[in-house]
Subunit: 111 residues, 2 copies
């Protein structure tokens, strides 16, 4: 991914499979990283945590999300904010799911 342009097309993003059926496309800035997440139906992000703050918005589909001890099934337009160190997990509904996450600072493991 070029650092010379402020514009990044999807094809220029880094791609990673982070769990079975869960793919991300990432774009690093200086202090933040965008991550476009695509879930196959019923795909699961297992419980995990990281020191980075994470926020995001659901773009498509339905996601059952647990952050700390709160669980909610959310729909497009709904947002989340996960302080660093808080355990979170989620599972996609019956249709494909698309979400945009952002991390601060940059997650080096997702570059």
């Amino acid at each position: 991914m070029s650092m010379t342009s402020p514009f990044v097309s999807p094809g220029e993003c880094s791609r990673h499979q982070i769990f079975p059926g869960v793919q991300i496309q990432t774009c690093a800035g200086e202090q933040m990283m965008l991550s476009l997440v695509e879930f196959e139906p019923h795909a699961v992000v297992q419980p995990h945590s990281h020191p980075h703050e994470q926020m995001g918005m659901l773009l498509e589909g339905e996601l059952t999300f647990t952050i700390g001890d709160e669980t909610r099934t959310i729909r497009p337009g709904e947002m989340w904010r996960i302080p660093g160190g808080v355990v979170h997990q989620c599972v996609a509904g019956d249709k494909p799911v698309k979400a945009l996450d952002v991390f601060h600072p940059v997650r080096d493991d997702y570059r």
Copy 2:
């Protein structure tokens, strides 16, 4: 907006009109702020800058975006990264535009 839940529905966001025909709905975390931006057709964000780093992704419509001295007309899925202090501006195309921006640190003027 409640700080007690990690989940934020659109109705709980703060709303601001930042330019004629340009509305934002914001959600503050600890070190980042999400801003869902909606443009009426042909609405203009005038040239401006701020010390906050800004990244984002186009969700709907077409946006002609200038960052520093580079101008590009972008489509949904394309991303941007604007270092703090860099002048930027944009204009919506013939249809309504929706974008998700994120700032670091939190923009107090958008709380």
